[in-house]
Amino acid sequence: MEVFQLLLSGLSQGCVYGLIALGFVMIYKATEMLNFAQGDMMMLGAFVAITFVNLAGLPFFVGFLITLVVMVGFGMGLERTVIRPMIGEPPFAVLMLTIGLGFILRAVAGAIWGSGPRTLDVPFAGSVLEVGGVVLGYENLVVIGGTALLCIALWAFFRYSRIGVAMQAASQNQLAAYYCGVPVKRVTSLVWGISAAISAAAGVLVAPVMLIDPMMGFLGIKAFAAAIVGGFGSLPGAIVGGLLIGVVEQFAGLYLPAGLGEVSAFVILLVMLMARPQGIFASMQQKKV
């Protein structure tokens, strides 16, 4: 039974990694930029949710929706003002820029909301569901359920909506998409917006399980591991990689010497890079001459 509970909390933790990973895999696919500030966007999303739910006193779901809208705006604004001038610069420059952005976001969040940890008021906090002797926290179930819903929504969006198909086109070949009349710039902007919203959703989902403070963006580092394990550039891979890392982390934390749970994600990552660098769901090949 203990195993089952560990599995559940691992899966719920993994969902959060997966969602953050999803956010930057989207950006990477669309623009070949690596957004190191993804974890900090999650932090920002969680704080925005706190502002609307705790401080403004809105109902949870209304606050959540407003947060998503705000974060879409934030992501698009960020792309428009900071990222777009960097198009054509070497990838390294963009990487460094997003690292810098991460620091700025942390300082700004610290200035606005203070550095102390906070909790988000959620309607389902603390209650548990008992099924055949297994105690399931509602928070964990909500994280898993929420992630599943979000994934279905995203899948439908990419599969059926015009703009979703346009995004796929732009990410496969920018120039060809441009020739076919896809407004690549606007699409890229929207990709950043959606990616910011996904990480905000991750932040809100993780809020009942962990405390929210400006430093929680460091979670993003593990999400990188998730993305690579899943196969960089593959959206389902990001979620699977996240789940894998979340589960392994929980089990390593219990059965291996103290603290190994913390680094197990990185060990998996390095092993994966040596054994199968293209990840579980290989979607990219090395360029050949």
């Binding site: 460094m96 942390r106 990185f266």
Partner: protein, 358 residues
């Protein structure tokens, strides 16, 4: 504007292009040698820190600026150098043995990290080195009998040929000497075939390989050399701070090193020194600014890192060539005085070089 008439091939690889440069570098050398005579112990200590940053910066510059490989894990090499040296000193190994052993050990680890890195391009490498850094930090925190764990360990202060390294004036000259030797070695490396291969790999792996550059060997060498320089900086840092604890070597340190390289100017050894001065003195400027600013602004947690991030972002957007690039512009403005045109240094946009198969 000075034009050098090239009359033999040796002039192309000369360290100094003309006598004017020799004069200014000699003046600089004299002034840093006599500087401690006029400075208090505090400022000498701060200069030592700048030198150490610069030595580590040479390592990262060779990797990032010249070979085009990104590392977010250089704090790990710094830590490995420092800890290896301190542990060996603790066993009573003399300085003259333990320092080279620490450097060699770091270089070896660097080469080992470089091996999986061979299959990876930018993105993967950045994250893999970050993972490596976390694992090393974990090892240091949990291998308590040797590293002292989270409590840390004090660094024994050995005799350095009869004088104590605990004296900051002695440490000043030692690290100055190491920095000068390091810069010379790096400049020499860069005009050798190995260094040219680094640059070729940076500019295009495919064309470098077509020209006969052994990619795997070049990248591993770059990693090993880079780690060795950073390890050497770690050795000196151990003496500078006197007490090693894991919180001195975090992801933040790696990022400060990257900041040094970017702000200084990618792809120039001058940039290393400019960047080291910048990174070494910025925290103090911020500390001074904190006192001046109203307390509501000055007390923001993470302000220092936020300012770091802001400066990093501003440099990347407005001056990607860093302080050295800015200096080049100022210099050409001065030498061309009434005729300088902005378009001389116009940035050219490059096309995105995709790693994907279309």
């Amino acid at each position: 504007m000075r034009f050098v008439l090239t009359t033999h091939y040796g002039q192309d690889v000369n360290l100094f292009r003309h006598n004017g440069q020799r004069f200014w570098y000699a003046l600089l050398a004299v002034s840093v040698v006599v500087a401690p005579l006029f400075l208090s112990t505090f400022y000498v200590g701060e200069l030592v820190l700048v030198f150490i940053w610069a030595i580590a910066g040479i390592g990262l510059m060779l990797l990032v600026g010249y070979t085009g490989l990104v590392s977010l894990g250089h704090a790990a090499f710094l830590a490995l150098g420092a800890y290896c040296h301190a542990v060996l000193l603790g066993y009573g190994v003399p300085f003259a043995v333990s320092a080279p052993v620490a450097v060699a050990f770091t270089a070896l680890v660097g080469a080992l990290v470089g091996i999986p890195a061979l299959r990876m391009t930018g993105v993967y490498l950045a994250i893999a080195t970050l993972a490596f850094e976390r694992i090393v930090a974990y090892g240091i925190e949990h291998w308590e009998p040797v590293t002292g764990g989270l409590r840390g360990m004090s660094v024994p202060q050995p005799d350095f040929f009869g004088v104590s390294l605990a004296d900051s004036y002695v440490l000043y000259y030692v690290s100055l000497g190491v920095l000068a030797a390091g810069l010379f070695a790096a400049a020499n490396l860069l005009r050798s075939p190995t260094g040219r291969a680094f640059v070729a790999v940076r500019d295009s792996e495919i064309s470098a390989e077509s020209m006969g550059v052994h990619l795997a060997r070049t990248k591993t060498t770059a990693f090993a050399v880079s780690a060795a320089f950073t390890g050497l900086a770690g050795v000196l840092l151990a003496h500078r701070i006197g007490y090693l604890a894991p919180d001195a070597f975090t992801v933040q340190t790696s990022i400060q090193l990257l900041l040094l390289v970017v702000v200084g100017g990618l792809g120039s050894l001058h940039g290393v020194v400019f960047g080291a001065i910048f990174v070494g003195y910025l925290p103090q400027v911020i500390a001074l600014a904190r006192d001046v600013l109203p307390s509501a602004v000055g007390q923001i947690p993470g302000l220092e890192l936020g300012v770091f991030g802001l400066i990093l972002a501003l440099f990347l957007v407005f001056e990607p060539l860093g302080l050295y690039g800015r200096w080049l512009k100022i210099r050409s403005w001065l030498s061309l005085f009434p005729l300088y045109r902005k378009a001389t240094h116009k940035r050219q946009k490059a096309y995105l070089r995709t790693e994907r198969v279309q």
